[in-house]
């Protein structure tokens, strides 16, 4: 009996070696098949492909205030976007001017956006009834100086469509 047991153990020993090597081979077959097919490589060569790299249209990059060709935006300083923001990343600084009808009116002075505290939750864009906001496609946010992350979104010299009417 002891003899049979030894034979079985020896058999198992060799079987284990054989099946172990076979399992390694099966794995190598997968990697080997990709090695011989360079066409199946999916890696992108960033940053070399920077010029051709295009993000999806919906991509949430940086917040921007949409300006048309006449440098007009449509913000009417209602402050909804700033109230909806969970992180206080939007500050609307306005000034009061006298309108044509003699009443004082708020116009946008600075639309301050703190990219450093923005968590890209996307609540601000649909909050705006004037459709004044949009996310652009920038994704390279890294800078050496934190102050650069505080941005003024209305372009210099721009004005609001509503005040011009």
């Amino acid at each position: 009996m002891a003899f049979l047991k030894t034979i079985r153990e020896v058999g198992k020993y060799f079987h284990d070696i054989y099946s172990g090597v076979a399992s390694l081979m099966r794995g190598m077959k997968v990697t080997g098949s990709y090695f011989t097919r360079p066409g199946s490589i999916v890696t992108q060569r960033y940053p070399e492909n920077r010029d051709t790299l295009k993000m999806f249209d919906n991509f949430k990059g940086e917040l921007m205030l949409i300006h048309d060709e006449n440098n007009l935006h449509s913000c009417n300083v209602c402050n909804t976007c700033a109230r909806k923001c969970p992180n206080g990343s939007i500050e609307i600084i306005y000034k009061k001017v006298e309108g044509a009808d003699g009443r004082s009116k708020k116009i946008l002075d600075k639309y301050v956006y703190h990219l450093d505290t923005c968590s890209f939750c996307g609540l601000c864009v649909p909050a705006c009834d004037e459709l004044a906001l949009k996310f652009d496609q920038k994704f390279e946010h890294a800078v050496f100086d934190k102050r650069k992350l505080t941005k003024v979104l209305n372009k210099p010299g721009s004005s609001s469509k509503t005040t011009n009417e």
Partner: protein
Amino acid sequence: MDIELKEKEEYIINMGPQHPSTHGVLRFELCLLGEQVKYVIPHCGYIHRGIEKMCEHLTYPQLVHLTDRMDYLSAHINNEAVALCVEKSMNVEVSDRVKYIRTILSELTRIASHQLWWSAFGMDLGALTTFFYGLRDREKILDIFEESTGSRLTQSFITPGGLMGDVHPNFQKRVAEFIKYFRKKLPEYDQLLTGNVIFRERTKGIGIMSKEDAIDYGVTGPSGRGSGFHCDIRKIEPYSAYPFVEVNEVTLTEGDTYARYLVRIKEMWESLNILEQLVDNVPAGPIMLELKAIKAPKGEYYQRVETARGELGVYIVSDGGPSPARMKFRSPNFSNLFIINKLAAGHKIADLVAISGSLDLVIPDIDR
């Protein structure tokens, strides 16, 4: 903490908080006897951000984006949990379209999460190749997310009352393509790792968790199901579009590291089946409910969902205001973590890496 060493040869070392195999800032205090682990004490709190407290200062739609940052690999499912809880409190029901899309996103999230886990688990055990193969396939899912939601990881797309926007017109086509693609690629996972002799030797019979222990410690998700604990919320308490589809719960009875591994591999197949049943049948309908204000009426509400790691419970105490008075998350990883002493004691230190990998811990979810 003062620990008295009972034997001369014992010594205490720290594994983490900056250790690659703890996948985040988790510290294990190990008591070692040579190479053998005598006990493990997990120390957490290194990435505590007070999310529950922060929720008390935010409105319900605002606080959704914080739940992305708990278990960031199950972001959609976390969002869904909050959304479902708030909807339950207001006694409203979203359209079938929203339900279908939510469930498709959740199942894609589950696959993506298991893919990353598979990649990292192989790497923990010394197989670097798995990392490239897993991430290659995960990228396809992240692209689908990015096209529709604008973000790859922390989407904040599912919100109380519906969705933040409609999905991209390509969505269904791309999901159907992915199902076909991944059906072809998933067998490679078995060839590369599951059948591998070194991998099997290192996982079989290691860290055996009994069904009783799983229930006692509240280990849910694939880790609990590897021990035969029927804990799949999709089956027990179907939510969203799960009542419309056939969900097969994957359970194994061995309870060792290898069983927990197999459960996740089988769950990926199962998720593909669920996706296939949903993707061609997405009905038309509104994507957002017309609600005057999104706030929970006075009372207490609880909703649980099945994330990629187990049962996530959201508990809201509301005083009727725009923000919750108290918000509590029952996070799966917190409960799954503390069984590690029971599993690892007596094993070698290298087995501890395999065991903690097989529990699939995401540290920000433990600390919140």
